[in-house]
């Protein structure tokens, strides 16, 4: 075991070895972050990148805080995209993991094939998934509408990506389809580390299926659920590609989220300063979420880590 003196003696070497990592962190994370913060206090325009912007203080922040449109964008990002999107993935991921771990699949020798099939959506690039789903959901030519009409479930085709009642569920379906496998596989891996003796003991003690799930399986999966919730929240909150390629934020502002708002303000309205302010708010919200989550939930579960 290294002594304190030994570590002190090696400190210059350790610092030296960390310099490249710190350099890249400074260059590609800290500097852009600070630069973005500085730009958010200016009126920098897309068409004036060479000239630079003028310092306007907190005007961009005042504008976005007082803008009804921005309130809607925050609501969409937090409630629809993140809370609903992540909750659906966690619940379905858990259900899928339990199914894949069940004896039924073993009995019919479907375990391997079902796990391979689960990987297909995950291996599909988002752009391919989105284009395919757009076709599937097309009111005139899409197979989903053809099926619904054929089965007599609906009388008129549903415009899933343009009717207000359907657009968010459709969007979340696409995101879930593409990203669910990672969640399910993580839970499956955690499930497989659950000693079978625990379940057998619970069964002998008279615990039914629901009780085994509630008092044995879920507590065992808790660390995995916490990690996946945290990671899914970060990925989802910051996600641009699914919303942009599926609805581009429309109809109206109905599915516009913070990531698409950053793009629209910067590259369509040409307001780089305002767009940077939106980016700063996004980052602040995520940092705040991460801190609260780690402080109140993860810390309780991973005492040995913190």
């Amino acid at each position: 075991m290294p002594t304190a003196r030994g570590i002190r003696g090696e400190r210059p070497f350790i610092v030296f070895m960390l310099v490249p990592a710190f350099f890249f962190l400074l260059m590609f994370y800290v500097y852009p972050t600070l630069f973005n913060l500085e730009v958010s206090f200016t009126d920098l325009s897309l068409f004036g990148l060479k000239q630079g912007g003028e310092w306007i203080g907190i005007a961009n922040y005042v504008e976005l805080v007082t803008s009804d449109d921005f309130h809607r964008v925050v609501f969409n990002t937090v409630v629809w995209l993140t809370v609903v999107g992540v909750a659906v993935r966690i619940v379905l991921g858990l259900g899928l993991a339990l199914l894949l771990d069940s004896k039924v699949l073993d009995k019919y020798r479907l375990k391997t094939i079902s796990r391979v099939l689960l990987l297909v959506p995950w291996a599909t690039p988002p752009i391919v998934a989105i284009v395919s789903w757009r076709w599937l959901l097309n009111p005139q030519l899409g197979d989903i509408n053809k099926l619904l009409l054929g089965l007599g479930i609906v009388e008129q085709p549903i415009a899933f990506l343009s009717e207000a009642a359907w657009v968010w569920p459709a969007l979340i379906t696409i995101i879930t389809w593409n990203t669910l496998p990672l969640v399910a596989l993580s839970f499956l891996a955690a499930l497989q580390s659950l000693p079978s003796e625990l379940l057998e003991a619970a069964e002998i003690d008279g615990a039914g299926r629901w009780q085994r799930l509630r008092y044995v399986i879920i507590p065992h999966l808790k660390p995995a659920i916490i990690v996946m919730t945290l990671m899914s929240t970060f990925w989802t909150f910051n996600n641009f590609v699914y919303v942009w390629l599926t609805t581009a934020g429309g109809p109206g502002l109905y599915t516009n989220v913070m990531a698409t708002e950053v793009y629209i303000k910067a590259f369509i309205d040409g307001r780089m300063g305002y767009s940077s302010a939106v980016g700063v708010v996004m980052a602040t919200l995520m940092v705040a979420f991460g801190m609260v989550y780690l402080r109140f939930i993860a810390q309780r579960e991973f005492k040995e880590v913190f």
């Binding site: 897309l46 068409f47 004036g48 990148l49 060479k50 757009r134 097309n138 009111p139 005139q140 030519l141 008129q156 085709p157 415009a159 899933f160 990506l161 343009s162 009717e163 207000a164 609805t247 581009a248 934020g249 429309g250 109809p251 109206g252 502002l253 109905y254 629209i264 590259f267 369509i268 309205d269 040409g270």
Partner: protein, 426 residues
């Protein structure tokens, strides 16, 4: 052994120098093209290389809607293609941003086009704020017109091609009554959608305009909130009464495959598209029905109290301000604007030069478009010359219309929101 290594090193140096000098003899240009007639354009570039030994051209591709933003970003970073393919209305912004180089000297020294720069159309759109510096050259021109299915007209008892917006609405109702789609248009509300064009055609033909010159060097709104709201209501009627293509709110492009397919399949009464898309529809229909007579007619866009008006749109070219080869880039610009290039390679588009336009007649089925070109196409003018970026107005128009289309806002609220936004930019 050391001798061998030294020998290899010398050989490597000699080889590098030799190939280096050969490579240096060729100027390698990059041309970024954004439309989809890639094979024809590539053939034209191959011909350019034959005519200009020592210059090679690589074609890069970009989605048209991203072409402006991409060049602006590259312009600020000192990168980008030597020659870029853009929209008419983007040149001023790109020139002001320093992404497109001033061309006055090159035009003066080497000339451009069949009859010089003054023979090009819409040249006001490629000038900088000083109205003297030329930042781009109009390349190909375009406008929109209407296509109608004549068989549906007969079957639905539509006696003549609609001339007014109200007639179009009524005719669409008749088409629906026989189980067909009425007027198909993309009503999606993304940032680069079709409703922007249809809204402006409607406003212009009723005497309104979103932006106009105030006559004293400034710009102002040229339309009332009521006028805007009534046009929102007009298009909303198609959505509410199912007179347009299902899922129209999820479609952004006029050439959305669903719209084209419904038109080609003969299930849609009418649509509004640019010239090239009309040609695509007709070609596709002929391919599927080689023995039959084309069941389409074309006409000018409908009108309100004024005359039918669409925009004189088109594509332009600019030389990147960061190019190392302005002279060679200019040779490419000259070739791309030559009659030989339009006659043999860029055959689907119409040159933005008066001298060349007369050499390229419209096919018989395109008379409506020809009429629109000569009698009812206007420049974006004050939209492009004024301080409000067209992209920003376009985006807000889409959002406001979209919010009203889905019932999130009333048409009056949406109209007020749009006008307040544009007023803020002016």
């Amino acid at each position: 052994m050391p001798m061998t290594i030294r020998g290899l090193a010398l050989a490597a140096m000699a080889t590098t120098c030799f190939y280096g000098s050969v490579a240096a003899a060729d100027t390698e240009l990059t041309f970024r093209y954004a439309y989809d007639n890639v094979d024809e354009i590539q053939a034209g570039l191959d011909r350019f290389e034959e005519l200009n030994p020592g210059i090679t051209v690589t074609m890069e591709r970009v989605a048209f809607k991203d072409a402006r933003d991409q060049l602006i970003r590259e312009g600020a970073a000192g990168a980008g293609p030597d020659v870029a393919h853009l929209a008419f209305v983007w040149i001023k912004d790109l020139g002001t941003a320093g992404a497109c180089m001033p061309l006055n000297e090159l035009i003066e020294e080497h000339g451009i086009g069949e009859n010089g720069f003054q023979d090009f159309i819409a040249t006001d759109l490629v000038l900088g704020d000083d109205e003297e510096t030329i930042y781009g050259v109009p390349f190909a021109t375009d406008t929109w017109g209407m296509i109608y299915n004549t068989e549906i007209m007969k079957e639905a008892g539509i006696e003549k091609v609609p001339e007014t917006w109200e007639e179009l609405l009524e005719a669409s109702r008749k088409a629906k009554a026989i189980g067909k789609i009425g007027f198909g248009f993309a009503a999606g509300t993304s940032a680069a959608n079709t409703i922007w064009f249809l809204a402006n055609f409607n406003w212009w033909s009723d005497g309104g305009t979103l932006v106009e010159s105030d006559g004293a060097g400034g710009y102002r709104l040229g339309i009332s909130a009521d006028q805007v709201a009534s046009v929102i209501d007009y298009y909303k009627t198609y959505l509410d009464e199912d007179l347009t293509v299902p899922g129209a709110l999820a479609m952004d492009a006029w050439n959305d495959p669903t719209i084209l397919e419904q038109m080609i399949a003969g299930d849609m009464f009418a649509t509004s598209v640019p010239v090239f898309t009309a040609v695509q529809i007709f070609d596709q229909w002929r391919e599927r029905n080689p023995e039959k007579e084309l069941p389409f007619t074309t006409a000018m866009t409908p009108h309100g109290s004024g005359k039918p008006t669409t925009h004189l749109g088109g594509q332009s070219l600019c030389v990147n301000a960061n190019t190392d080869y302005p002279e060679e880039s200019w040779k490419l610009m000259q070739w791309l604007n030559s009659w030989e290039f339009f006659e043999n390679y860029n055959t689907g588009y119409y040159p933005a030069q008066q001298a060349l336009l007369v050499k390229k007649p419209f096919p018989a089925e395109m008379t409506g478009f020809q009429k629109q070109f000569s009698e009812g196409a206007r420049s974006w003018g004050p939209y492009a010359r004024g301080p409000a970026a067209i992209g920003a107005m376009w985006n807000q128009t889409s959002r406001s219309f979209g919010a009203a289309f889905i019932g999130e806002k009333t048409s009056k609220e949406a109209a007020d929101e749009l006008l307040a936004f544009v007023q803020g930019l002016l």
